[in-house]
């Protein structure tokens, strides 16, 4: 059997001016679905694509960390922030920086798609996760099944 849950891994991508971003290496099914959900809005005739969210939704889900600073040269913290907060911060970038980060993420996404296709061909699958913690059922007093 192969693992179908990947270990969360990140990659650091270099930007111009010495900046960098850290992105998720692969998205999970849930994250992929969130990329699409963020692009959908309620329209007069039902759900429709929100063009303002195209690209942004992908950036929000992929981004883990970066070196970007504000106008006072203070770090702009996105690590550990909610996706909504990251979206707000991304909206404040200048147009060229926004575009550069989006292109870097899209290029990364294509590279990872190629890597996954290669895995399918070679049957190597993905790396196994670390072992999980043992069940707490035996240590915290919980019972399992009939006492008799």
């Amino acid at each position: 059997m192969s693992s179908r849950i990947r270990r969360p891994e990140t990659l650091r991508l270099a930007l111009t001016r010495g900046d960098w971003i850290v992105v998720k290496k692969h998205l999970t099914a849930g994250e992929t679905r969130r990329v699409f959900r963020r692009m959908i809005r309620k329209g007069a005739t039902g759900d429709e694509i929100d063009s303002l969210q195209v690209g942004l939704s992908k950036m929000v889900v992929y981004l883990v960390d970066w070196s970007i600073t504000d106008a006072d040269d203070q770090p702009v913290i996105i690590r550990g922030q909610s996706e909504d907060v990251v979206a707000d911060v991304l909206e404040m970038l200048d147009v060229d920086s926004f575009s550069e980060i989006l292109k870097a993420i899209e290029a990364h996404e294509r590279t990872m798609e190629d890597e996954r296709e290669e895995e399918k061909k070679t049957g190597t699958g993905n790396s196994k996760s670390d072992p999980t913690w043992p069940s707490l059922a035996s240590s915290d007093g919980a019972t399992n099944g009939s006492p008799n």
């Binding site: 650091r12 913690w133 240590s139």
Partner: protein, 97 residues
């Protein structure tokens, strides 16, 4: 870093994911064994992520985060918990490769 830390908000992370939100925590260091431990209350738990490892206990402070590896299992549901911790990881980007 102080030997004992009490705070309101912290989290348990698996890589870049938040496995649990912790409310009201105390990190202490045994004066004899020098071992770190944490007690607190899990208020939001992701049952799957809490079974994965390595897990880290992350306590934010004014200039960043204190991060410790968690060395014992933690409950997968909301409620009080206690866990043994390893030595603190230097602040920075602990899940960046």
């Amino acid at each position: 870093m102080p030997a004992g830390i009490t705070g309101v908000v912290a989290s348990i992370r698996w890589a870049y994911y938040t496995a649990a939100a912790v409310n009201g925590y105390t990190v202490t260091r045994d004066p004899v064994t020098r071992a770190w431990s944490v007690t607190g209350t899990i208020v939001l738990a992701d049952a799957f992520k809490l079974t994965q490892r390595p897990l880290k206990f992350v306590a934010p402070h004014a200039k960043g985060e204190w991060v410790w590896p968690i060395e014992t299992p933690v409950p997968r549901v909301a409620g009080p918990f206690m866990a043994k911790l390893g030595n603190p990881i230097e602040d920075g980007t602990p899940y960046v490769q």
